[in-house]
Symmetry: C2
Subunit: 581 residues, 2 copies
């Protein structure tokens, strides 16, 4: 409540009728550094999706269904009211402001934390309002963490496969197609990909804070240069270096400039030449980055083998424990996995907070164990969704492990999810096929049983970069992005029964050409993540002979790939775990 009073004092000083806060950084990143977590500081709410609006009368926090229960607890005593996104009659914050403030109201927000696409929505709802870009938090947040200044390192050619100069050439070709003289890049993973740099400014991310600006003959990287080693500066070659903040006052002439409205902050957008034509491109670099090159694909294989070894050790460790006698919690599972990963060369960090959800917790799609997590019992299912950044690739794997006796419903659900995963992995489809067309091929067996899961089947996966990346989306989104050769995606159907169990089986799949004939070019997938899929819960009668063969072949592949890297008793365990059914 005290913090809220202070915000209102600041609003008063700056004559603002409303102040908006977004859980975002200056690059509209998925994961954000502590410096940017002002909503958590102000409201105590720690979920990832949050918008705050403070007016003279109201203080409101918006979040979505994943976080309703958590938000209700965390907001107690903060003075903030919870608005449940997606529930009937709940307006978006833009619409709320549009209907609760005077049309000519003064509205403030940190111009770095709002993307231009969000601002477009806001302006639509409040066409006559005056907007001021101001960070009211800085003066009142005592002990606000500094913006991270962690060292940046070069992701050498042996990993990246292409030099920054080669990537610039590819980018400029796309710029020419869009008739853009310049291209401003705000998305951190796009900048890391382009420059073959990696950082650690943000947890679960291999990025450093930077901006890039590309013209047809020059390239500029805006980054605080004390972060860069001599080695990483040397390999950059083509980029002229400027301080991180210098982009906002950078003097450059261009007639047209490309930007991506989802990862360009309002402040960055407003710093572009007013006279220049602004071209909103979905993401020039995003499209290039999604197609993994030969070198990247070789590296992905390496990192997946290391991840596979770590996962096998985790599953074996868990199976060796008598859960009736020894206490193991969800949190122990997360920590144990980190321990195994640290044994692998090139492990950097987890690519997201491990989801180890036992029993009903598995049904919470973005579950994160609290206070040590629940104790595992020798029955039911444990869902483990986890990933890591290795220097040679990013992983994301989910398995659902039987800890003891299972109900018939659990077994049937497990088998349906497995059928969905196998269907997508073996799918063959003509060039040009979009994610939405593959999503229903995965989902069909689950639909046929009159069940469904409320998330996409697959997202793009970065290369030692964002574990979620675009442009492809294997989901029900009506999105005109074809699956292309070299795209790495997740394949993660699921089924969730609140209070009982959650099931998800996730492998990564790499698109490749499988045929070229008079009917066209056909693509398919290689499964490139290696972790045994438990056959214990499988209901054979629900599977076709082809599916059983596919499952057995995959488990055999896992054994063949991982055995050389395992110790003798681990090999014995994996041999048993991958036995054909």
């Amino acid at each position: 409540m005290e913090k809220l009073l202070k915000i209102r004092e600041q609003m008063n000083k700056e004559q603002l009728d409303a102040y908006i806060m977004l859980n975002s950084d200056a690059h509209q990143s998925e994961y954000i550094a502590d410096y940017w977590q002002s909503i958590a500081w102000l409201t105590n709410f720690t979920g990832s999706n949050a918008v705050v609006v403070v007016t003279k009368e109201a203080a409101i926090l918006w979040t979505d269904g994943r976080y309703f229960i958590q938000a209700e607890k965390e907001l107690q005593g903060s003075g903030f009211e919870l608005y449940k996104l997606g529930e009937e009659g709940v307006p978006t914050y833009s619409k709320y402001l549009g209907s609760h403030l005077a049309p000519d109201a003064n509205v403030g927000f940190d111009g770095r934390a709002m993307g231009t696409s969000s601002f477009t929505q806001l302006k639509k709802a409040m066409p006559k309002a005056t907007f001021r870009y101001t960070d009211l938090i800085q003066d009142i947040w005592q002990g606000r963490p500094e913006l991270p200044q962690n060292p940046v390192w070069a992701h050498g050619l042996q990993y990246a496969g292409k030099t920054p100069a080669e990537k610039l050439a590819d980018v400029r070709e796309k710029m020419a197609e869009k008739h853009a003289d310049a291209y401003v890049v705000g998305a951190l993973d796009d900048i890391m990909w382009l420059t073959n740099l990696r950082g650690s400014d943000v947890e679960n991310s291999t990025v450093a804070f930077a901006y890039a600006l590309i013209t047809l003959d020059k390239a500029y990287l805006f980054i605080d240069d004390h972060k860069l080693s001599a080695d990483s500066i040397a390999h950059l070659g083509d980029f002229e270096l400027h301080p991180y903040d210098a982009i906002f006052s950078f003097d450059l002439a261009y007639e047209s400039i490309a930007y991506n409205d989802a990862s360009t902050s309002v402040l960055l957008f407003e710093s572009l030449l007013p006279s220049a034509k602004k071209i909103n491109v979905a993401s020039i670099i995003g499209d290039l980055k999604a197609i993994k090159n030969e070198t990247e694909i070789k590296n992905i294989e390496n990192s997946q083998l290391k991840e596979g070894v770590s996962l096998v050790r985790l599953y074996k460790w868990l199976e060796d424990i008598d859960l009736g006698k020894t206490t193991v919690t969800e949190y122990d599972v997360e920590e144990k996995l980190k321990e195994f990963r640290h044994m692998q060369e090139g492990y950097l960090e987890d690519s997201f907070h491990t989801i180890a959800g036992y029993a009903g917790n598995g049904a919470i799609v973005h579950y994160r164990s609290q206070n040590g997590g629940d104790k595992l019992e020798p029955q039911g299912l444990l869902l483990v969704d986890t990933g890591a950044h290795y220097v040679d690739g990013t992983t994301d794997t989910t398995r659902t492990l039987p800890l003891g006796p299972l109900t018939d419903e659990m077994k049937k659900d497990y088998t349906l999810v497995l059928k969905a995963n196998l269907a997508l992995s073996r799918a063959i489809f003509p060039k040009g096929t979009k994610g939405i067309q593959l999503d229903s091929i995965a989902r069909q067996y689950i639909w046929q049983a009159m069940l469904d899961y409320k998330h996409g089947t697959g997202h793009g996966v970065g290369f030692c970069l964002g574990v979620h990346e675009g442009p492809q989306s294997i989901s029900s989104k009506l999105q005109d992005t074809a699956i292309q050769v070299g795209m790495l995606s997740s394949n993660e159907p699921g089924l969730y029964r609140g209070g009982s169990h959650g099931i998800r089986i996730e492998t990564l799949i790499l698109a490749k050409v499988v045929a070229n004939n008079e009917f066209g070019t056909f693509l398919g997938f290689d499964v490139v993540s290696y972790a045994p899929i438990s056959t214990v819960p499988v209901v054979r009668e629900l599977m076709t002979a082809e599916e059983i063969q596919q499952l057995n072949d995959y488990n055999q592949l896992v054994f063949d790939k991982l055995a050389p890297y395992l110790m003798a008793e681990e090999q014995v365990w994996l041999r048993e775990a991958t036995r054909a059914i």
Copy 2:
């Protein structure tokens, strides 16, 4: 060549640099009356998709891949050059005009024959041109057919299930949602649905030329009243009648008006109040019309039974003939079917020209036999895609009939197409699922064999109205239209091998609710067309037990439904044709 000279004379008189002709009527209908077939008169080309451009230097006809061979033949001596739509480097007519004429050129076309959406494209390509709406053909086409003046009849409540007054109430509710004071309706099938009238102004169509204009308290029907019987006028009640052409000068005040840019001609659009806000609605009536009501559904069942009887008689007739001894052509098949249909009560006409394609002709998706058609041999496959308008429903059914020995490839292709058809018919899916999501569920087995078909899997089907209607499309189109309960669609996967055979199996499917549970509302389909699916070409090993059961169940259903209406020897034939495998 002579006609072309005359056109250029007319162009000269009216000082036009180019004249555009579209194969369209004043309502942008799929099928058009003879009066509108000026392209065929001018160029001899009789295909359905055609655009003609005449400039001082050039005379060009555009058509698509279905018609390339036919167009090359028919255009000989016409003075027209063929532009092949979809081939690399071939511009659209708009782009051609944009790049070949002076920017300020004078361009003419019949303002009735161009829809506003096409005109938008044209204006984009020629922003500085002057456009004149003029029909240059009228004065030079000696013996041009009159606009049809056929009688119109009332489609009584026992068929329609809803009165025009009830339908108007539904339409006005949608108008209110769109904030439209008025709604101009150009699409003939929409007008027929709304007024419960039917006509026969156009072959294969149950429509009469008319316009409708609806306000929040009045409704106007523009139709030449000598077409209407006293009975049909009486049942119209709510509509004020005006002559067909009167809409162009109709004096009515409204502030905002809804229209559909795909079925509103340029001339009609320009006749709307300049001061009014124009609201382009996909189609208010189209959305309502697509959802069949209980009475319509009962009638559909009746018409499908009659069609099934006709088809059984056709298949039996064909099977009884010794093709080695008796000459039967594709054309004979078409005519024989008409004969059988005429035996059924309420048969009006065919809903499209029957496609009877033997051997390689079956691979031509929109095949139409010429000069009597090819002779059938006692081997290979005959594709018969056909439909009719009955007073109680419109049908559209395709079967592929084995006439004798088949190759392994034919059998395998047939089985894959059958699997696709069965997959869509049995699909269960959550409310909100779009056509594109179901299309891939049908197509998956064909894709898996690295094959594909270059047409959609399903279209909407009218009720004693257009055999193709929207808004739903079960195809790869990225279209945000969910399949809704009561929608009637076709299910027609295929496989085509030029020079050898074409296979298509088409049933009509009616969407219904199958479950309501904690995971949502789930829909599925009833197959509502009844014609035996030949089991002769089926490769059992490619089918699952479930699919064989589904096939046997369907054929049994066909027998049970049709047997009561068949003569004894027809029953015997059908019993054998529907025998379980």
